[in-house]
């Protein structure tokens, strides 16, 4: 008996030791870019989050285009890095991930578990600008109020951010250089940030419009500053543009689909082609309208790779410029 168990355990260990189970592509994609195994769509955030909802709407579109299922799994943690680790440890031909820009900010911040060379961008599925929001029942009533307070008493007006030297910090760093020094208070979860503003625990919030839609409609939050140079269609409100206060170079929030760099190019292209259908999918379009994402959010693979590199470059440059990175 003990011998049997001993053999079992020994085999297991021996096998585990010499078997490399993550790296090879074992029959997932055929040589012609056709797939015969389902492709897991990794979402590095919790169920119910914006990335999760987007992924669950994209999944059926991809399925229709490629004829295999794209089941969604959630692997939250570390601003998306845990999910990226999952992507890189899984079979390349059987996994893709839906990742927001915030996760890439960790690459330039040096806290990420992956590098740009480890992945292949497939397509961009959304683009959204960021705003600073205030509570209508809060201390400050407009950008003028807020900014004057920030100028007069640097580092006292609080803004809820995602933390960890992310895009929020960089953009607020840009404002700081123009004289508006806010104190950033990090909250890992979107719901915590919103809650903090709702209970006036902080004075303002850095967020995309889609993530606070309920509060906009409910009249609880209003935008006071948008990071960009053109007002966002569909969003009412008397808000200032960052370009008007001297911040013209902004980093947008975007979401894209990515594959493991080891996924063969023809397979990546096949997925990218199916991804194009997302742009016209009625349910996804409705989601985008509802979450006030920018039009033209979709970008095909041919342009997207360059975009990601450019975006990372911008993050690095601005991060250093505004003192967020050393």
């Amino acid at each position: 008996m003990t011998v049997a168990v001993g053999l079992f355990v020994a085999t297991a260990f021996g096998a585990a030791a010499c078997g490399d189970t993550g790296g090879e592509s074992t029959g997932g994609g055929g040589g012609d870019g056709k797939f015969n195994r389902p492709i897991t769509l990794v979402v590095p955030f919790t169920p119910g989050s914006g990335s999760d909802q987007a992924a669950r709407l994209v999944s059926p579109v991809l399925e229709k285009g490629l004829g295999v299922q794209f089941p969604v799994i959630n692997v939250p943690g570390a601003t998306g890095n845990t999910g990226m680790t999952k992507l890189l440890q899984s079979r390349p031909s059987e996994t893709i991930a839906s990742v927001p820009a915030d996760t890439f900010a960790t690459v330039t911040a040096g806290t990420s578990t992956f590098k740009l060379e480890d992945i292949k961008p497939i397509c961009r599925i959304s683009l959204a600008p960021s705003f600073i929001w205030i509570n209508t029942k809060g201390k400050y009533k407009s950008w003028d109020d807020l900014s004057q307070a920030a100028k007069a008493k640097p580092d006292t007006v609080t803004v809820a951010t995602v933390g960890q030297g992310g895009i929020d910090d960089i953009m607020l760093g840009a404002l700081a250089q123009k004289g508006f020094k806010f104190r950033t208070v990090p909250f890992a979860e979107n719901s915590e940030r919103k809650g903090a503003l709702l209970s006036n625990d902080v004075d303002a919030l850095y967020e995309q419009s889609g993530d606070v839609k309920e509060n906009i409609d409910g009249g609880q939050f209003i935008p006071v500053l948008m990071f960009g140079s053109e007002k966002q269609k569909g969003l009412k409100g008397d808000y200032t543009l960052s370009s008007d206060v001297g911040v013209t170079e902004v980093i947008d929030q975007y979401r894209g689909l990515y594959a493991n760099a080891k996924m063969p190019d023809n397979e990546v292209d096949a997925v990218a082609e199916a991804c194009a259908a997302v742009e016209d999918d009625p349910k996804y379009t409705e989601f985008q309208e509802r979450t006030l994402e920018q039009e033209g959010g979709f970008m095909p693979r041919s342009e997207f790779e360059a975009y990601v590199e450019e975006s990372l470059g911008k993050m690095e440059k601005l991060g250093k410029q505004y003192g967020v990175y050393e």
């Binding site: 008996m1 003990t2 049997a4 168990v5 001993g6 079992f8 355990v9 085999t11 297991a12 260990f13 096998a15 585990a16 078997g19 490399d20 189970t21 090879e24 074992t26 029959g27 195994r37 389902p38 897991t40 295999v68 299922q69 089941p71 799994i73 899984s90 911040a109 030297g165 990175y325 050393e326």
Partner: protein, 214 residues
């Protein structure tokens, strides 16, 4: 506090209370175990505690090396772990002190009618423990190689058989159970359990298809 349930009222030495009027409720019956702990015995008893103390100190020290971008005026990521390490250290020190203080104190155990069922020191058969631990570890390890389906069937079969059930339907339960749960977890709930490598992978996926899982 001693339970109110009284099972007799006799102490281990019946000579107590002889001739004295009963002025209070009878005491629950107790078992008194005398002991004398030698310094060596004490050290052995305190080994885990000393180990924990050392670990706490080590973790406190390591916390100073956390790599992060410092922001002026903020506590940093080492504050909380250090507080916890201090708490741990203090608790262990008090515990060690208590143990030393009580080293020669007899142990008094209140007998209760449930003793039979609650022997917390039920005999542990160490080889069996080793076997169980080996099975569980083997289960986890083998999954990466042979895939969840095979390793589950294997594990169930071995565990049940080695646990004492030597009847033929063990294999049946194992096979059916393993397949059933694989179906539920992969097909219904979609937990992406490993499918193994090489031939195991191929067979597993074939079975998936058979069961209707894509």
């Amino acid at each position: 506090m001693p339970r109110e349930v009284v099972t007799g009222g006799e102490t281990t030495d019946p000579s107590t209370g002889a001739g004295e009027p009963e002025t209070r409720a009878p005491e629950p019956s107790v078992e008194v175990i005398e002991r004398q702990t030698s310094p060596a015995g004490l050290a052995k008893e305190l080994l885990p505690e000393i180990g924990i103390l050392l670990v706490a100190a080590y973790l406190f020290y390591v916390a100073g090396d956390f790599d992060y971008r410092e922001r002026p005026g903020q506590l940093g990521p080492q504050f909380w772990p250090r507080m916890a390490a201090v708490g741990l250290g203090v608790a262990v020190l008090v515990r060690i002190a208590q143990t030393i203080r009580d080293r020669n104190r007899p142990v008094v155990r209140v007998k209760s009618e449930f003793d039979e069922y609650e022997q917390s020191e039920a005999e542990v058969h160490w080889p069996s423990f080793g076997l169980a631990a080996g099975l569980v570890v083997g289960y986890a390890a083998s999954t990466m190689f042979v895939g969840y389906m095979f390793s589950t069937v294997l594990f169930l079969g071995l565990f049940i058989w080695l646990g004492g059930q030597r009847r033929w339907y063990v294999t049946l339960v194992a096979a059916v159970g393993g397949l059933l749960f694989t179906y539920i977890f992969v097909g219904v709930v979609y937990v992406s359990v490993p499918t193994g490598v090489g031939i195991f992978d191929t067979i597993t996926v074939a079975v998936y298809r058979l069961l209707g899982i894509q």
